[in-house]
């Protein structure tokens, strides 16, 4: 999104290469690679969104009207895989690429060539995965969790496994790069405890990624050998155990859901203080809460498996551990509210998304707490109640935080202000329709509608229709987002100042807007009052 504008105005001697191919395909520049990640993520968001539209259209009313059940299952599977690995994760990597060096006063990422590689793997991985939809026999249809033996029935398993390997390699390289950058490239004086919370959240997330992506790779590789090389890891007839897969998968899977929310916590912790014009409440507590959530995320995986028939002791352990996560999560929510308390608030689009995040993510946390109560989960598990839960934490959580961050930093990226009016239109439409879309799904689940079904009894008809209407309108609202971004990058006439927001603190606001191709070639001199967290005592 920094686009052609950059080399018109800034740093002629250090500008971006003018050759399109050299600039975008061979880039080692953290800003350009960040932009590539963000464009990729937005594209995946619309691809995954179009799959969701198919799902909601089929579920609009009882009876099968549009697609065969098998294709429906391909849609649910692909929707999840594309949204998780294509939309949410690359968006955070893109934001990290763009902002981490700017926030810590580094000239670039520590490993710029690897940075290029980790991005350019992704289009190939997704092309490979999406191509299965056009193959004879169809794409994967066993759910994004790929439980065997069902997932072994798919002919496209090998493609998907290879695609996941590629995505995993990309994520691991990205994580290594982020850790190396944060630990080695901070400007002198930028102590760890002066770093913005967003940088902290990414540091911790990167460790989670390195820890669990190999576990996912192992799990899917075992699927592959079970299907093609005669092993029996998960095949009971050969002495294996189908439940083993679920343990391994969720040992990756639960930290993975936190990989998708911790950077969101970071973004929100930047946006709320800026528009409250008040430092974040309890900086150290915020960092510590992120770290303890990350730790706990490794010991709660079996809460996704309460209905597989675990021994009583295991059910109790995982229930208690899961409930414990509510404590640091609660601390974060309380601290955001306290940051607003006593501030001087304005409500630009990034702040609106951040406020909606706090409220709606908390609602997702509430349903999470309910799901953690094992006897109740015997009813909730694998119903629309769970679907509602994870969409509140992922759409109104992770995705809203990404949108908040996009509006927040977009003027810094492209040098122009976006249209506040259309930003607010995007916000109000999103926040209304997302609730019309997902809130009734709580009721559907409680009334007994299982997830991942293409058709249902007429008792579920009214809430499904409401949900589908909300879905179509939420989908349409995202076109406004696209419009706002295109307008800001290419057409907006309103120049952005260096410090785009009155209350913004931190090094990223000391460089010009748009940020020149190269920043901090000489490390900046850190003045504590320039930083968001320059004077940390608690």
């Amino acid at each position: 999104m920094a686009h052609a504008a950059t080399h018109d105005h800034h740093d002629e001697h250090h500008g971006a290469p003018s050759n399109f191919f050299t600039r975008w395909f061979m880039s080692t520049n953290h800003k350009d690679i960040g932009t590539l990640y963000l464009i990729f993520s937005l594209t995946a968001f619309f691809v995954g969104g179009s799959f969701a539209m198919v799902i909601r259209a089929e579920l609009f009313k009882p009876g099968m009207q549009l697609v065969q059940p098998y294709f429906f299952n391909e849609m649910t599977t692909m929707h999840a895989l594309v949204m998780i690995f294509g939309a949410i994760m690359p968006a955070f990597v893109g934001l990290g690429n763009w902002m981490i060096p700017l926030m810590i006063g580094a000239p670039d990422m520590a490993l710029p060539r690897m940075n290029n590689l980790s991005f350019w793997i992704l289009p190939f991985a997704f092309a490979l995965m999406l191509s299965t939809l056009f193959m004879h026999g169809g794409g994967p249809a066993g759910g994004w969790t790929m439980y065997p033996p069902l997932s072994l029935q798919s002919d496209s398993l090998a493609y998907v496994v290879f695609a996941i390997h590629l995505m995993g390699i990309s994520s691991i390289m990205g994580a290594i790069n982020i850790i190396a950058t944060i630990l080695n490239m901070r400007a002198p004086g930028m102590d760890l405890l002066k770093m913005p919370v967003f940088v902290w959240s990414w540091l911790i997330t990167a460790f989670l990624l390195i820890a669990v992506m190999p576990v996912l790779a192992g799990a899917v590789t075992m699927l592959l050998t079970d299907k093609y090389f005669g092993t029996s890891f998960f095949n009971a007839a050969g002495g294996g155990d189908p439940v083993l897969y679920q343990h391994v998968f969720w040992f990756f899977g639960h930290p993975e859901v936190y990989i998708m929310i911790l950077p969101a916590f970071g973004i929100i912790s930047e946006v709320i203080p800026t528009f409250s014009r008040k430092p974040i409440f309890g900086y150290k507590a915020m960092v510590f809460a992120i770290a303890s959530i990350a730790f706990l995320s490794f010991i709660v995986w079996a809460h996704h498996m309460f209905a597989v028939g675990l021994p009583l002791g295991a059910e109790i352990f995982f229930m208690y551990a899961t409930m414990l996560i509510a404590v640091p999560t609660g601390v974060k929510v309380f601290n955001w509210v306290s940051t607003m308390w006593g501030g001087s608030l304005t409500f630009e689009t990034p702040m609106l998304f951040a406020i909606a995040f706090v409220i709606l993510f908390t609602i997702g946390g509430f349903s999470g707490l309910m799901l953690a109560l094992v006897p109740a989960d015997f009813q909730y598990h694998d119903t629309y109640f769970v679907v509602a839960h994870f969409h509140y934490v992922l759409v109104t959580g992770a995705a809203f935080a990404i949108m908040s961050g996009t509006y927040y930093w977009l003027p810094k990226w492209c040098g122009h202000m976006y249209s506040e009016f259309w930003g607010k239109m995007h916000f109000w439409n999103s926040v209304v329709w997302v609730n019309v879309l997902f809130f009734p799904q709580h009721f559907l689940g409680l009334a007994g509608m299982p997830r991942r079904i293409p058709d249902y009894n007429v008792a579920f008809a009214n809430f499904n229709m409401i949900s589908s209407i909300g879905g179509f309108l939420f989908g349409a609202s995202q076109l406004i987002f696209l419009g706002v971004i295109i307008h800001a990058v290419f057409f907006s006439k309103k120049k952005a100042p260096d410090r785009v927001w009155e209350g913004a603190r931190g090094l990223e606001w000391t460089v010009p807007s748009p940020a020149p191709h190269h920043t901090f070639a000489l490390p900046p001199v850190i003045h504590d009052d320039e930083l968001a967290h320059g004077h940390v005592e608690d």
Partner: protein, 318 residues
């Protein structure tokens, strides 16, 4: 009537929808809350659900309330000037401790429910449930201490639902009824018949992929996993027909393998069982493994949805 009267009625309807009674053991249009269920244990999840929901609502009102107050009181447009403080140890200790206490209470209640669920001892009857793509098999193992011989059958989606649910069938799901009740996708050709007031132990497994056996009125679901036998129990208190569905994605017809449990009085059950046993002994027995009847499967399914390598007892199209 006055508008007040209408309002009271509307509230009553809403309250009913939220706190459904045993009458609503099966999904109802507009149902807002979990069913209380009809078994000895099923009030456990219902109760926990309501308590947890109440706790969340109270915390939500407090937190979101504080947030909305902040949004109105501390607007810059109203001249609010930002204060400088950014921590308060006392507050932080309080709002870490109070949630911990609430969580301990919830955990304690949930543990009780879990322990009683895990106790499958002292059952008076055993039924074996096996999940297949895409139907259930029920085998009656013993009843009141006596082994039952050769009573078992497949249970699959009823024909009317199956015809209606074909892609663009042109048939109306609303027309699939048993009496007044719409049974679209919630009816089977042969229900599981069980006695009331009897502790029934279910042993649950699968023949091909993982399924999950779930009847909301009984209060739980448990996975049916090939190669593993899970156990669970129920003791149904109210005679009636209770409907559920497979709750673990098991392939293309996962949405089309419902579960129907018919709970009858002990006398009726004894009669039914005797009939079944007699039929089982007669020469052209109820086949333990029916070979011919085509299962509920989707026409024109892609070849990929083939059966698992594990041999199953049923015929498949696809």
């Amino acid at each position: 009537m006055t508008s007040g009267g209408i309002r009271i009625k509307a509230w009553a309807a809403a309250a009913c929808a939220l706190f459904s009674s045993a009458v609503w053991a099966n999904p109802q249009p507009g149902q807002l809350n979990m069913t209380r269920g009809v078994s000895e244990w099923s009030p456990e999840p219902y109760f926990l659900n309501n308590v947890a929901l109440g706790v969340c609502v109270v915390i939500g009102v407090l937190v979101f309330g504080a947030m909305f107050i902040a949004m109105f009181r501390f607007r810059k447009s109203r001249g609010a000037v930002a204060e400088k403080w950014s921590h308060n140890t006392m507050l932080e200790v309080v709002w870490t401790t109070i949630p911990v206490i609430i969580l301990i209470v919830l955990a304690w209640m949930a543990t009780g429910g879990l322990v009683s669920f895990a106790d499958t001892t002292g059952s008076q009857m055993t039924v074996k449930v096996t999940g297949y793509q895409w139907k259930w098999r029920y085998d009656y193992v013993d009843y009141q201490g006596k082994a039952i011989d050769k009573v078992g059958f497949m249970s699959k989606l009823d024909e009317q639902s199956n015809d209606t649910r074909q892609l663009r069938s042109g048939l109306d799901p609303h027309a699939v009824k048993v009496g007044d009740e719409n049974t679209y996708l919630l009816n089977v050709d042969k229900p599981l018949v069980v006695p009331v007031d009897t502790k029934i132990r279910f042993v649950i497994t699968a023949g091909d992929v993982i399924h999950s056996w779930w009847v909301p009125a009984l209060g739980w679901k448990i996975d049916a996993i090939p190669g593993i036998v899970n156990a669970a129990w129920t003791n149904i208190k109210v005679p009636g027909t209770y409907r559920g569905q497979c709750a673990e994605l098991c392939g293309q017809d996962h949405g089309f393998m419902p579960i129907v449990v018919k709970a009858v009085s002990k006398a009726e059950f004894a009669q039914w069982l005797a009939q079944q046993e007699a039929a089982g002994k007669a020469p052209p027995a109820t086949p333990a493994t029916p070979a011919s009847p085509a299962p509920a499967s989707t026409a024109a399914a892609p070849a990929t949805a083939q059966a698992a390598p594990v041999a199953t007892t049923s015929g498949k199209r696809g």
